[in-house]
Every structure is written in structure tokens, then in C-alpha cells.
Symmetry: D2
Subunit: 483 residues, 4 copies
């Protein structure tokens, strides 16, 4: 699967970060850490800082490099702050939903960077609207901000967060700034990643540990599901606000979204992918002349696969053109086919006259897979077998990933054989759910497997769940959480 | 005074417009009417429309021509809508304060375009914050929006507007969209202009009648102070929500801001300026070889002055370069002096060897006046007399005009003779307040003369007022206005 | 006629400037002087400087303000240089024809800024091509550059220029840089303007004296027809290279193109226009309630007309919107009519119930005139009479003005009565050629009247000429001019 | 070495392409093929087409995607044309040198796309200047254009090209359009690559075969050293204009510049690199825990090295951030060090506690190598050994590669041990020249090895050559080449 030009791929909706420094400005470190998280959102980027007196905010459209000028950074004063990169949901590509979302209210100012998706945002919005709240966007981040601001009228910060946490349901990893205090909050099921880092003169939270590396910091640990961490330049306080029996970690972060060099929930993504590649060989290995990755996403899988095979040669067979980007003028219909070659060109010598195993991390719509199989055949492959480092995706994601609708998913309602025929491969095999769980060292019950089982760990209208979800009671505003 | 490149001039903060059509899209008419109001705000432009189901919004930075693309207009569906052009207050040139301000809340969506300035916005904001409201900007328009949204929870539209009107204090001309209903509201003192127009297939409100002309419409009348008008494609309903003994019309709209071709409170601006020019001759005429305007602002005054003099020749003596604009690279210090010639160049033949009367509408900081007197002397004028179509400006404006601080005003705390000496003219005379009132056909008590008397028709912290201002009681939320 | 948004108006093709300083950088003065000449060309702007060792060049598209950044100016080193603003001829709006045109050749570097049009460029180009010359553009400026470079192989600078001058035929005012020497050259008929200015630490040449004013300089005199001036920081050398019995000054510069504050061939443009206005009254005055200009072009004419009438009131009756510019989104067909009101809006009080004389400088296509007459009638004018400050334009310009084709000219092949009917006026009168000549103090034979007589002072294929034109012999390359 | 953000790497100056179609427009295929060659030049891109009547040209700054709009492509009419991507030489980043260079001259129009560098351009320029030619740029492409245009005055196309070829000395692969004829020309030593492709309805030439793949075409063969090919839609004519005993192929194309999926002089680049990796093991293999590439340039080498080692584990140990691009705001001095981590982040698990061999294709300045060694040590590597897939670079390139000056080259005048110490590796080994020659199947005498031996196959002022170079006689213009 291809992140660069995701015709066919899912897109993560967001990356978040927060820092708290002593004697060091926050803006530039935040800027560099957003570069490290750029793969998690490419439609807008923003930073909110606080200088002890007031909040500063800049949000720009496009990549981090386009969203900020030197002047923008210079005006973001203060030693604490949060940042955000964002992929838009359908239909809202304008700047009104770009984050961090910042508001001022009775007891100060709030900034929110959100990764994830609430499933009960509408209910809470309605309740708040009933109290007279007016909303400038239709995003769930504004709902969290208003809810938190309302709680802060009568409660201290930790109690207010807990109160809000008892009301919202869904997936969320949040970097929050309340004046010059920076908080990290992860939903009770720990669906999206969030980790804590120690820096030279401060502490940080980030969606992925690679952002910590970028600032030359040290990964302390993941934020725990249901945990609130309150950063200070010298450390962080931890509040385990909610505890659940099971987690609902998104396995797809490991398979596809996260950077290979990030450590998520104690697993290095690169190693997980290599191990999944090895499992792929164990479960469905096939002895072809050569095994090659779909660049760049299949590379770690293919390397593990080749290693486990103890004999199948690993080779790069597809050359990726990294220059095809946003400003590309699309080919006309009859040139469309040719344009696949512009993005991925077969290296003939690795392919010609050979049986080939092609490794990718996943298949979503199937269009690209089909084109790649054709490309390889045209380049002279005698056989083309596909091996996929994840189970078939058969259901949509409601937890913050922009994947596809059920209608668009090639594996929804089709057998593996149907899919194989549609993409034109000689054979096709997916990885099992067991292999995924084993590689992550987690039980099935601690993973969110909704997109491959159709059974979700959250209560979602029109979808199944086996879990006894503790759905929050929205009408509990008047009653402070019993703590 | 020079609007194009206001080094020295006051800037109006806003222009507003609203339309309600039958079978005709609102976006393009709104776009063209914003062009007609461009002189009232050049930092951002925005349009909000409603298509019967949902609200559409686009706000862009810069001039109207830069703020909208064809695509932007095409996406602004619906037959009703409002628009806004804006001059920023100090320190907030970014897009977060650009208008119309749009929110959704319990009973629908609201869009607000605001011209004016509240003097008690902070109080209301604090009260609303105490109820849990969170604010995304520090502007007073958001305060009005939240207040109105809160009232609409329990009240119908007209009562809710009246309720808000009883709480806010200051100057405001508002174009409001509540779903697909468009309202016009003018503060009880009628400080800023607002008028009603009849169009081919609908009705409109606008800051100035020139916007109505632009759409080939017909000026119906001004919105009355304290009046709410509710537009429909076939007409409008009027609600006189508040009535006051005295108005507080801004005389400066006539002297400086408004377009000459606009009719404001029953007076054509061009005619008012000609009459002021005539009065200027009557009060302080001086028999020089020639009278010339500072282009373009002094032209109508100078033409009236010349006419009344029955003998002093009217001539253009200063040529204005219209290309000096935003992207101009400023000269270095030693070139600065030369650069005045770039903007205004004397026409030598009209000046050389002649005694000259130079007419301008007002003097704010005095810098430009000083430069112009020098320019004319260098071009060979034997005498340079200045005549100003307004009284000396000695106090700041709190009602929505970005004029200057007291320290910057050349006439604050100085005699006319002091000012004359500073600008280097042979003589200097201002127009009297009586002449202004006479030209407008209004009593002193019905004008806002704060900037020339220091005595305001509103209760402003640290400033004087002779008026018995009916300052609203903010704590009246629980008590529906007695109506 | 309207220069700002020339829907209907002719466009000057170019403005040129050159400076030679001692101890002062040329770039910024050139930049400011291009601002002063911006009305002569708005499609591209460029500057070439020379620092004693090498030539520096920057050419950008659009207005001067868009074409140069601070960095661009900083890199244009040197104390001598030339500049150019340009209107493109049809079909070549890209940057390849933008000027100054700069080349390096055997004996140094050349920069050329050209205003005018050669009528024998193709012949010379062909001859040079026959010698192996290759051309990067199809402009006549490159032809002059190559011809001059070829002559400079064997001749000193003055002889080489004279040699080229004996070969090219047509209108040209040139600012030329040959390494760090700056030259001004005007064609033997003096068709386009060019003047000499004295500055603080140097000398300059410019298309119009307003550019000299802008740099706080002093107009020395016009460059004479057929004269070459070689600037130095301390003065200039004059070479009268060619002398002709008659000049062919373009009268249209005075009527339309030039700035009112410029002095061209000893006449202040503003005074010429006022005088033409007076003549217009003498020849065809009509006693209406009011006389009003088409802004801004008709203003000086109308003021002279009103003065001469000793009774007809001068008033502004049309308000111009200066914000309608390049990025304007054109109205749909049915809104087109409305959009005229966006650009020019009648001031009703000056018009309603009155007989009106409307003054413009010229009529080209007639479209705008027609719309204005309608506008005034709709605004309540009882009669609308048009008076034009030039004779009917019946033939195209070949000398460097982008006017219109014969087919587009409303007066070509039509009587004045036909034109009157087409534009819908109650009466229409033009100014006579005699009046033009008288106002300029020139004989008919010393003016280029091609566009109003169809008889040209140059030999043009397919057009008439009464003049015994000394058409150059192109094949005289081997024979140095006899001097 | 890193092409994306070449802080430390050489840059190829150009990529060229030309197509000749029947019944198919050339512009879009040229556009897509420039995308395929984007790695060869990222500063400007241009296309020249010919529609049978006239030449069309568009050149823009930046990447291909930025240089062309849909409109630009639509205006490039015609079924034949050439294209160019370009890296600027120092000091000329503006558009004046961007290519293709296009001129019109006596017998038509010429477009030239040039990859390479002439060593006698100044001599020819001087000679042509002596004949009166004027040059708009200081590039050698314009020199070739003028020379060719001059020859075409008296000679047919093939003779004229041969004549020019006998006069110019250096490296050049040229795509030339002469009206609607497209030519490919490669210098007698075949220094830069150029190949011929067969397309659906035409033929093409391109710097690399990947461009042919992109258009779904078929590689026919390389253009031979000294060969001129004249394309037509149905085939091509070949003229072997010059023949030399030895070629001077640039080995660095294979090591670094060219795409892995291109075939150059009969060798697939990917296979060459894998073979060089194998040789690297044979010559200087070291038995570490793991071997890892510098991404992306070292990947093929490392994979061959690992394979040959039969035991050293291949792993990705450095993660590259592809988003760090042109608009990146550089870190302050004290953040600089941290920023390396932004571009390349170690994957700790592959590195920690392990001895590591790091493979790169070459070392130029050595800065990046030093940083990478440090990074790996910080990530826990016990030993870091560097192996380089090319000999030490000790001398500059004069043949069209923007490499570095002698002073900047870390290996110039230093022993391998010196370099090792400077970059801080535990051991360092380069590949031998013999291995390079073997992998390419060429003799030393048929390669250009100037940058690694200081001995050049061309006569260059101040540099050594062992070859009996047939330096052209420039003064032979009058004498048609004896053919």
C-alpha cells in the first residue's frame, strides 16, 4: 500500500504532540516534531503555544513546510504548547476544521489536538447546544473543548478531565493545553497511540516515539489507556482516571500507519512487520524465484518473509517515482493506464522470466494490486503470487481512520478466491488474525479488530459488538463523577 | 485624506450586506456588493449563504478579488446570505477574526456580519463564560452570536434579538442570517449606517446604498435606529425594538468614509460634502489664485468651496499615483522624502507662482498635510492655505473606526495655530460643528461628535458623556425583557 | 476613457527609463521611476543594471509591485541601469518578450528598453538571419539589439548607433545600456516621448517627466527627434544623428496616455487637456444644466470646458470603483449589464432631472460610451450630450499603441451621426484636428495623425502616406554611414 | 548518498527527452517523461513543441509539477517536441538559463535540450561574437544553438550538425528540434547517456530508459557515441557522424545518478549496483552482525553485499523522512545536530548492541557520513564500518555534474585512513576502479574516471589527460568539414 499518493490506501486522520519546556521556546521543537508525524496527516498543520500570559495559535493548510513561515514560528511565543497534523474527513477540507482547536473561556484558554473519533459526539453536542452553546465547526474536537470548558467552571483540571472522560465514548489520543499546562490523555481502550518522552529541558507527549527521537529525546513509556498525564518541564504527573478490563489497540497502526522506527505499546513497528512477514511465510509461504515488496509499505514484511523462507531471493522489483505529487496533472482516460508506470516501474531484470511473490501490507480497494500484477506480467513475470501482511479488510473503521466504505472494500462480501481473481494474481493469501495477535503479544480481546471482523469494541449504531461497552450517560452533567 | 494608502487616515472597520432572493442564487450578488463596499474594509472578505438545509461559508484574506475564486462562489449555494468586508483591529490580522462569524447551535445556524463596536462586550463575554461558553476569538461579534444563540433556546427570533439588544451597548449595524432568514439590525442610536434595498427578485440590506445600486436595485430607506428588519424575497417586516430620544449618527461617515454616491440617513454624501465645502468658504474663505483638492478625498469639498467663492479658480494641482499599493517596497530613510512624490506629484503649472488653497476632509496625524504643504511650496506656490472640511479631531473613536490614539492626533491638546505651524501652512481653518450639523440637517444631540468634542453619546470607561445613557443591565438573563 | 480597466481603451505598449549615478545604487531609483510610469505598461516590468564588471537583470510579470522583491532589488548591483514597463502585443503575454532585452556580445553587454514600433523589423531580421543570427523572440527590440551588436564589431558606440538608426524605420524611444554607459535615443520623427532629467547625483532619461519628479529631479528638456544622448553622472553628451524637416509627434500621448503632470515636448499634459476642453466648448459647446467628466480621463477636459462656458456647472456625476481589478470574477451574461454599475455608479443628485454634457477624451469601440449614456438616462438625466476631446478615430495605430483594428473602431466608415445613434446620445461632437494642433502649438505636418486621418508619416504596407519618407536601405551594412 | 535533499551529494545537471508522434499530441507524453527524469534536474522544467507551422515553448521554475499548468500543456500544440529538466550551475538559478533553449533563425526554428558540458564553449562563443552574434545567456547551450544556426545557412541538417560536432568539445547528449524534426545527438565519447524508444504511435529519445517505460514504450537501444538519430513517427535514421577509438562513459551515472530501473549502455543500473555490492564484499567484506544501507541510495549495493556475504544479515537501520523538503525552516545552530534525526532516524532494534556495516554509494564532502556514524553509535551500535560502492572521489567533474570543488572533497589529498578518522568509522573501504570496470563490462580506457583519477578523457585547462584528444579546430568555419 502506498502512503505517498494514497489512491488506494487508508489515511490516518491525525497526529498530535505536546511539549513543556523550561527556558526553551516550544515553537520550533513542535514544528520539527510535526515533520516527524507528517505521515499521519497532510492536509493541515497547526501549533498552539502559551507564554504564561496568553495563548498563540497558527494553523495553516497543506504540509508542515507550507503551513508555517519563519515569522509564524517567531510569533508563537512560550515554552509550552501543542501541535497537530490532520487528514480531513470527507467534505471538510477547508481551514475551519484544522487543529489545534483553540478557545478561551472563563478560567483561561484551551488548545486541543485530537487523534481518533468519538462515537457519541452528536449526543453531547446536542446537550451542550441545549445549554446555549454555539459551535463554529461540526468536528468532535470542539465538542470535547466545550464539554471540558463547562466542567472547568466548577471543577479543578483533573476532575474536569475525568468528568469529560466519563461522558465521551470512542477513540481519542489528545494533547491538551490549558493555559501553560500541557496534558496528554488516551481513551480507556487505548485505541490510538500516545507516548511520553523526556527531552533535554522538558517533557513531551506524541502520537509516535519517532517524534521524540527527532528532538533527540528519550521514550519514557506509552500513555496508558485511560490515563491522564500532566507535563511539567521536570517530569509528569499521572492520573489513571478510568480503568477497563480490556484494551482495544488498533493493530492497523502497526501494519500500516505508523513509522517503522516508532515504538508503540512496547513494540517496535519495524520488528512487528518483519515478524508478520515471517508469519506470512509460515502460514502461506510459496517457493518462487523471487520475493519483492510493494515499495515502501511492503518492504519490512518482504524482508522478514525472505528471511524465513531461507531461500527465496529478496529483490526490489518495482521502482517508485517520489516526485508524483499534489500538483500532478492527471492523464486523460486513455493515458491513465500508462500513468501507473509513472508511479511504479518494474525493474525488468528482477522480474523477467521469473516466478514472483509480491508482498503488501494490506488490500483496501484492490485497484492498485490489480495494476501491479499486470505490470509485473507485462515485465515478463511467469507467475505472480500476492501475500498480504494483514487479514482481509471487510468492514469500515469508525475510530479515526479514513479507510473506505463497505461498498469500496474489495474483500467485503467476497471470498479470498474472488479477490484473487479480481486482482489477477496466480495465488493470494492473507495473514491470520492469530498471527497478528501473536506478533503484538496481545490477546484478541485487547485489540480493535473491527475492520477485519465487523465486530467492534465500541457501541456503534448499526454495527455489532461483543464487548460489554460501558457507554457513558450523557445526562450526568449535574452529578460530579464519584471520585 | 487618502484612503488608498492610509498612512495617515482613519479606517472604517467593516461593511455588511445581506440578501434574500426568490429563484436566484445569492453568492454572486453578494460578491459584487462586497466590491461596492470594498472601501470599508480591505483585510478580509467573507460570505455565508444558506440553501434551506445547511449553511455554507467562505472567508478569505485580502481584497474581495483575492478572497474568492470561481469555485468558492460556486460552492456557496442558496438564495439567501450575508457578506462582510473587514479592517482588522490592531494585532489581529489573521483569519480567526474574519467575518461573517458563523456558528451552529441548538435551533439552527447563525451568521453575523458586524459593523461597529460594542463597549460592554467584555462584561457579556464574562457572563457567558460563567455559563460555560468557550470563545474562539476575542471579537465582539462572537459575543453577540453566543448571546443570541442562548436567547434563542427559549425565545422566538424577534424576542431573542430584542433580548440581546437590551444587553449589548455600543454601535452596531448587523446583517444576520438565521438559517435562511436574513435580518438587518441597527443599534438604537443609529451610529453606523444601514439601509434597505429592493432588487429584481428580492430584498437586501447594506451598509451603503451604493451596494444596492451595484445590483441595479432601488434604495427603499435607511434602517431606523433600534429597528430590526426581517427580509423575505417579497418584502421585509419591521420591528421597532427600541426607541431612544436621540440618535448618535456618525458625522464622519459623511465627511470621510462613505462613498460619494451613497445616500446615508437621507443625505447624498456627495451633496453633503459640496455643502460642507460651501460652508467652509462662508466661514473661512480666503481669496487665493487657485483652490485645489487633496485627491480624491477633498474633491467634492473643493468643488463646493470654489463654487461658493464665485471667483477662486478650481484646479487639480496634485496628481495621485494609483499603483502604489500593498506590495510596494518601502524606500530607505533617505529616500522616504522622495517617495511622497511617488504618491502625489504636483502639477507645476497650476501651482507655480500662485497662492493656493488646499482642501482636505480632515487632519488626523498631520504628517501627510505637512508633506503636501512642502510639496506645493517646492513646486512654486507663493502661499499655501489649508481648509479642512471637518472640526479638529481631538479624541479617539470607540465606535468602530480605527482612527488613532490621543497621542497621535495632531489637534489633541494643541491650538489651531499650533497645528498650522506644525504643518507649515500660511493659514489653516477647520469647519465648525454647527456647519456639520446644518449640512446634515441634524441637531448636535443627534450626532456622535465624540472625536471632535471628547464627549460621547455612549458610556465609555475613562471618557465623558453628557447623555443619560441607558446602559443595559447584563444580569437580566433570567428575566425576559418586558415586552 | 478609462485607463484603470481598459475594456474599451487603447493601451500604450511601454515606458522606458535609464539612470546614471555617481556613488548611488541605480536599482531602487529605477524601481520607483517604474512606478511613476506604471500607466504605460502593466504586464511586465524589468530592470537591467551594470556594476562596472557585469550586467544584472531581473524581469518579472505583472505590475511593478509584483515583479520585484526586496531580494531582486538587492541583487541588481551597480550605479547605472535601465528599466521598462510593458503592455504585450496580442498573443505574447509570456515572459519571453518582457524587457529590458539583455544580451552579451563581443564587446560587452547590451540592455534595451523600447517604446514604439518598427515598421521594417522583419526586413532587418531577415538580413541578420541571413548572416546566421538566431532570435529568441519575435519582438523588434531583439532586432535592434542584434543590429547594434553587429555594428559595434567595427564601429565605436556613437557611429554604431547612427548606423543602426539609418537602418531602422518606425517609432522608437530607447533607453540603452552598453555596459555601464546609459544612452537615450529618440526616433527622427520624435513619435514617442523621451526626456532628460537632472538628479541629485546623476542624470536620467525617461518616457515622461513625472518619473523625474518622482526622484525629486529636475526636467532638463526633451530628447530631440533624431538625437542620441549619452548620460554620465555629471551630465550628458548630445549627438544629433539624424535631422528631418518634420516631426511626427503622437498627439494621443497628450489626449490620453500620458500622466496629466508630465511635460511632453514642452507642453504640460494637464494644461493641454484643459485647453482642449476650452476648444471643445468653443467649437461645439452646448448649454446644459451640468457638465461632467468620465472619470478619470475626462476630468481635465471637462474642467476646461466648464470654465470656457462661463456658466455650465461642473460636477462629478459618475463614481468610479477603483477596486475592480485583475482578479475580478466576470458576471454571467445576464449580470453583465448590472456590472457596469459596479465600475461606474451615477451620483443621482447631479443627474436627476437635468440635461447633462458628458466629456470623454476619445471613443474607440463605443461600448462604454453606450453604457454610460444608458446609465445617466436611468439615473434621471433628461438629455445626455457627449463631447469628445479628440477627433474621431478611424484607423489603427502602427506606432506602438495597442488601439484596435479598423473593424472594431466605431467611427471607422461611419458618420458622426451614425456613432451618435449607436451610443444613444442626444448629441455628439468631436474636437477638430485644428484645435489639437493649436493646443499643442504644432503644425499638422509635425504630428502623427494616422489614427484620425488614415494618412501616416511612415511608410506602412497597405496604408497611405503623404510624406516623402526617407525609408532606410537595409542592404547598406557593408557601407559605413557617410559621416 | 541522498538525492532528495542533497546537502552532501553531487547533482546531475540535466535530463533531456524528445518525441515524434503521428496523430498524437506531444505535450502530455513529454510532461510525463519529464516526471520520469525529475531526479536529473529539479530547478526548472521546459517543453518546446512544433505544430508544423510554428514552435511553442513553455519553461517554468521548480519541479515539473510546479512548472506546468493544464493551460500551459494545452497551448503546447504539435505532435513533435523536446523537453528538459535542469539543475542550475552556481549563480544562475533564474529563468534565463532554463531550457529547452529556443530560437528562430533564417531557415526555421530550433529548440535545444542539453545534458553535459562543453569544455570549449568560450572559444566558440568568442568566434561567433566576432561575427556579430549576441547572446542572451552565458550557457553553452546557446553557443551550440548559434553555431548550428550559422551552419544551417549553407548546409543541410545532417551536414550542419556534423559541422557543429567537429567544432564543439566536451560532453553532450542533446535533444534537438528543428521545426517539426526531432534529433538526438550524443558526443563522440558517449559521456552522458541517451537512448532510443519505440512508442505506440511514434519514437522518442531520452536520457534514461525509465522515461520510455513511463510512456509504455520499448527501449530500442542506446544512441551510440558520435551518432545522430533523426526521429520520425515511423522510425529513425542513424548517422554515425564521428567515430572514436575509445568511449568515455561516466561510471557515476551507474553508481549514483541514474534510476535503478534504467538501462544505460546495455547495463541495468539496479543490477550494476547489486554487482558492485557483491564486489564490495569480495574486496573488503567484514563480518558484522548486520549490514544496512544509507537510504535510498545504498540499498541495491547493500543487498548485493549481504547476498555475497552469505551470512551478514541485511536490515534497514535508518528511517528516512521524505517530507523534509524545500520549504523546510532550518534549525538554529544549536538545533542543527538534532535535525539530522529529522531526516534519518535509526531503528534502534536493528542497531543496538550490534556491529554494523553501513553501505553508501559514495562519499563527497563527508559531512553526512560523519553524522550517520554518530547517529548509529548513539543508537547503540558497538562497531560502525563503512563500505563505499565507488572509489574515493579526489577531483572535480567538468562534464556536467555539479559535484564539488577539490577543496570540498574529503578524499582529495587525504588517505583513506584520514577519511576514516574524519568520519569516525571503525573501518572504511572503497571499491576499486577495476571492480567498477568489471561490473560495467568495460575497459578503463572506455570510461571517464576523471573524478577518481584526476586524469580526464578531455582536454581541460589545468587538468591532466593521458588521452590523445582530437581537440577541434575552431577556426574552420570557412572550410566545410571534409565529408
Amino acid at each position: 500500500m502506498d502512503t505517498g499518493q494514497a489512491v488506494d490506501g487508508p489515511t490516518e486522520k491525525c497526529g498530535v504532540v505536546g511539549v513543556s519546556f523550561r527556558d526553551r521556546d516550544a515553537a520550533r521543537p513542535l514544528y520539527y516534531s510535526l515533520y516527524a508525524l507528517q505521515h499521519r496527516g497532510q492536509e493541515s498543520a497547526g501549533i498552539v503555544t502559551h507564554d504564561g500570559f496568553q495563548q498563540h495559535s497558527h494553523v495553516g493548510m497543506g504540509l508542515v513546510g507550507d503551513a508555517f513561515s519563519e515569522t509564524d514560528l517567531a510569533e508563537l511565543n512560550g515554552q509550552t504548547g501543542i501541535g497537530h497534523v490532520r487528514y480531513p474527513t470527507a467534505g471538510s477540507v477547508d481551514s475551519s476544521c484544522a487543529q489545534p482547536f483553540s478557545v478561551s473561556f472563563k478560567s483561561g484558554s484551551l488548545g486541543l489536538s485530537h487523534n481518533g473519533n468519538l462515537v457519541n459526539a452528536d449526543e453531547i453536542r446536542e446537550e451542550l447546544a441545549g445549554m446555549g452553546h454555539a459551535f463554529t465547526s461540526d468536528g468532535d474536537t470542539e465538542v470535547i473543548a466545550h464539554d471540558l470548558a463547562t466542567n472547568l467552571l466548577n471543577e479543578d483540571l483533573v476532575r474536569a478531565v475525568k468528568h469529560t472522560m466519563n461522558r465521551i465514548h470512542g477513540s481519542y489520543s489528545l494533547a491538551i493545553s490549558h493555559d501553560d499546562t500541557v496534558l496528554g490523555l488516551r481513551d480507556p481502550e487505548g485505541n490510538r497511540p500516545l507516548c511520553i518522552g523526556k527531552l533535554d529541558e522538558g517533557y513531551m507527549i506524541a502520537s509516535e516515539s519517532a517524534a521524540i527521537d527527532t528532538l533527540d529525546g528519550e521514550l519514557v513509556r506509552d500513555v496508558r489507556p485511560g490515563e491522564l498525564v500532566v507535563l511539567s518541564p521536570g517530569g509528569f504527573d499521572s492520573y489513571q482516571l478510568v480503568e477497563r478490563e480490556h484494551t482495544a489497540h488498533c493493530f492497523f497502526e502497526h501494519v500500516y500507519f505508523a513509522r517503522p522506527d516508532s515504538v508503540i505499546d512496547d513494540n517496535l513497528v519495524y520488528e512487528v512487520r518483519r515478524e508478520l512477514g515471517r508469519q506470512l511465510w509460515e502460514e502461506n509461504g510459496i517457493d518462487t524465484d523471487v520475493v519483492m515488496p510493494v515499495p515502501d509499505s511492503g518492504r519490512a514484511f518482504a524482508s522478514g518473509y525472505a528471511e524465513a523462507s531461507e531461500g527465496v531471493e529478496f529483490a526490489e522489483g518495482l521502482m517508485k517515482n517520489r516526485y508524483v505529487g499534489r500538483t500532478f496533472i492527471m492523464p486523460t482516460q486513455d493515458e491513465r493506464e500508462r500513468a501507473v508506470r509513472l508511479k511504479l516501474n518494474p525493474i525488468r531484470s528482477t522480474v523477467e522470466g521469473k516466478s514472483v511473490t509480491l508482498i503488501d501490507d494490506s488490500i483496501v480497494r484492490g485497484t492498485t494490486s490489480n495494476q501491479l500484477v499486470s505490470l509485473l506480467r507485462e515485465a515478463g513475470a511467469t507467475e505472480v503470487h500476492m501475500r498480504i501482511g494483514a487479514p482481509p479488510i471487510t468492514a469500515p473503521c469508525y475510530m479515526g481512520i479514513n479507510m473506505a466504505t463497505r461498498e469500496e472494500l474489495i474483500a467485503a462480501g467476497q471470498s479470498v478466491e474472488d479477490v484473487r481473481e479480481e486482482i489477477g494474481a496466480d495465488s493470494l493469501a492473507y495473514l491470520s488474525i492469530d498471527a497478528i495477535a501473536a506478533a503484538l503479544g496481545e490477546k484478541h480481546d485487547d485489540l480493535c479488530l473491527g475492520c477485519v471482523t465487523g465486530n467492534y469494541p465500541y457501541e456503534i449504531d448499526g454495527e455489532d459488538t461483543d464487548r460489554e461497552v460501558e457507554r457513558p450517560q450523557i445526562d450526568d452533567r449535574g452529578l460530579p463523577a464519584d471520585d
